[in-house]
């Protein structure tokens, strides 16, 4: 604070969580800025829920400290933490009316009767469900119940909003709509939010920051664009989007570019973002969408672009786009997703493939 930096809202310092022999969270250091929406992203069982529950106080860290607004909360009991939690199954009280559900947290916060009424009405308006006060939760649809769960969590004006895969029980269309609504609501209220998901689209579209986890440990943290375009390692690149991994060796470096000789003998150029020297074994990551495929006849590579020849081995049509598997040499194929700016190529057809060095991202070979 004296440094002029804003105090992070939530801080994890050296968090470990073990269940018997299972390590659910490992050596977690992570800060969450006030007012931001952070997603915890990772495959099933990587410890997202556990990390979230430790913030709520529903699990205790085996080691390490958690701070909220600079104060260590490890020993603060659950009911004194002032957090809003939204559960995957909504967890509305089935025996209470919607009003009593939403008013629940206020009842334990010495708020006057009139104020409770006022706040509940406002919260229901905010989630766009005014007038359902007297209904029971079972009389609402899944999406509506989800909204009530949100109203119930935000009405207490929590320091941090915790959501554990809140949208996964909804069907595809509703999910998209609710995602936007969560996003809008979060921005409107400016409440610090931790959002757990294993859906990368959810994470990429709504977060200020993504924390990618694997087997309990942090793989990368950063802005969605950074995490997507500059994955820190093989796992992150593989988990987010469709990636091609091409192994090779650095054979030349200049100020702008790194030249890599890949397995097939082709020489590709990647943008120099630093951190490599000649002779390093590297892995080049190229998103499937970054390749452009052209007819082989009459194709001349653009200046400064990487290009190579291949043959369409397999393709699948996915509506707006086509997914191709293109055989380069022996034993090497790449995955290309094309937006169909040209015609659809046939299986067996010879094509030329081109990609800009800018879209070739290098990581050390693991």
């Amino acid at each position: 604070m004296t440094s002029g930096n804003k105090q992070p809202m939530v801080q994890f310092k050296g968090i470990f969580k073990r269940f018997g022999n299972v390590v659910a969270v490992e050596k977690m250091d992570f800060d969450i800025e006030a007012g931001s929406l952070v997603t915890l992203l990772g495959p099933s069982g990587c410890g997202k829920t556990t990390l979230l529950r430790m913030v709520a106080g529903l699990e205790e860290p085996t080691e390490g400290d958690i701070f909220i607004k600079g104060a260590r909360i490890n020993d603060t009991p659950i009911h004194k933490r002032n957090l809003g939690m939204i559960f995957q199954n909504y967890a509305l009280f089935p025996h209470k009316t919607i009003f009593d559900n939403v008013a629940f947290g206020l009842k334990y916060r010495s708020v006057s009767k009139e104020q409770i009424r006022e706040k509940v009405t406002r919260a229901l308006e905010m989630v766009r469900l005014p007038g359902v006060e007297n209904r029971m939760p079972s009389q609402l649809s899944g999406g509506q119940q989800q909204r009530i769960a949100m109203a119930r969590a935000i009405v207490i004006e929590p320091d941090v909003l915790l959501m554990d895969e809140p949208l996964s029980a909804l069907d595809e269309n509703l999910r998209e709509e609710m995602r936007r609504e969560v996003d809008n609501l979060q921005q409107m209220l400016g409440v610090t939010t931790i959002f757990v998901t294993h859906d990368q689209r959810e994470a990429l579209s709504m977060s200020d920051k993504i924390l990618v986890m694997k087997d309990g440990s942090k793989q990368q943290e950063g802005h969605p664009e950074t995490v997507y375009n500059e994955p820190a390692n093989h796992f992150v690149a593989d988990f987010l989007g469709h990636s091609n991994f091409i192994q090779g060796e650095v054979i030349g470096i200049d100020s702008d570019h790194i030249t890599v000789k890949i397995e097939t003998g082709d020489v590709l150029v990647a943008k120099n973002r630093g951190g490599f020297s000649t002779g390093d074994r590297v892995e080049m990551i190229v998103r499937a969408q970054r390749f452009d495929a052209f007819r082989k006849d009459g194709f001349t590579p653009q200046e400064g672009m990487n290009s190579f020849q291949g043959r369409i081995k397999d393709r699948s049509y996915m509506g707006g786009e086509v997914s191709y598997f293109i055989e380069l040499g022996t034993e090497r194929e790449i995955h290309v997703i094309s937006l169909m700016r040209t015609r659809i190529y046939n299986i067996g057809e010879e094509v030329s493939v081109q990609v800009s060095p800018h879209h070739c991202h290098l990581i050390p070979l693991e």
């Binding site: 709520a56 106080g57 529903l58 009991p77 659950i78 009911h79 004194k80 933490r81 002032n82 957090l83 809003g84 939690m85 559960f87 199954n89 967890a91 009280f93 089935p94 025996h95 629940f104 947290g105 009842k107 334990y108 916060r109 119930r152 207490i156």
Partner: protein
Amino acid sequence: MKSGNWKPWALLAPSLSAVFFLLVIPVCFIVVYSFWLRAPSGADIPAFQFGNYAKFFEDFFYPKILIRTIRISFETVIVCVIMGYIPAYYFYRSQSRYKKAFLLLIMLPFWVSFIIRTMSWINIMGDTGLINHFLLKIGLIQSPISMLYNEFTVLMGLIMYLLPFMVLNIYVSLEGIDKSLLEAARCMGCTEWQAFREVTLPLSLPGVSAGCLLVFVLTAGTYLPPMILGGPSNDMIANLIFKRVIGTLDWPFGSAISVILLSLLFVIVWTYNRYLGINQIFKSFQGN
């Protein structure tokens, strides 16, 4: 279309005929019998008259036993709820690996004959039983205290018999409560006790009331604990039936009392179903 309809009936036929021949028919017999006359010679004479029912309500002797039955049933229910909720809640909260084994222990008494379990109290509380023997031995008393054959011991026998039903009913409805509801309550500012009051207790009430109904009905129809552990003044309605039918072979009057008991229980079950729904009881037998 039509040909598919007989299948469920065919599959149900064995159980339906069992219910019909073993339950419906005997009950019909009892109802018919209750209108018959009993000759002074002891012979049963087919008739249609309400004399047996009139006899029941003639003076206060029989209704008193009916009222006592209802009172003891209520007492049993109340004690079972209090004594049953605690272990049920304990099992529900337990993280132990042996939870399932403990639950099995609750069923254990059912493996021993009800009569033997009831009789065993005599060995414990009788004049020459364990407690008196011990007290005499350490010189605390000079002659045995008589503890048996009163309403307290009858109640004890009933509770011992019925407590498992209550525990299981409550346990099943507790297990059915989504744990995230409790967590949600805690996150919103409830202490553990407040969360119990707000969430666990109200959501376990269906199991409690199902247990209550079951215990009530079973108590009202049982005759062994009063017979073995009670004195003459502790008789319940089922003892009366037993004595009339087996003791004095007065089938018509015994049947009339049975019909009265049956009607009483029917009214209770019907009222329960009307306001609370009977389905809950079946849930507890389906396990979780």
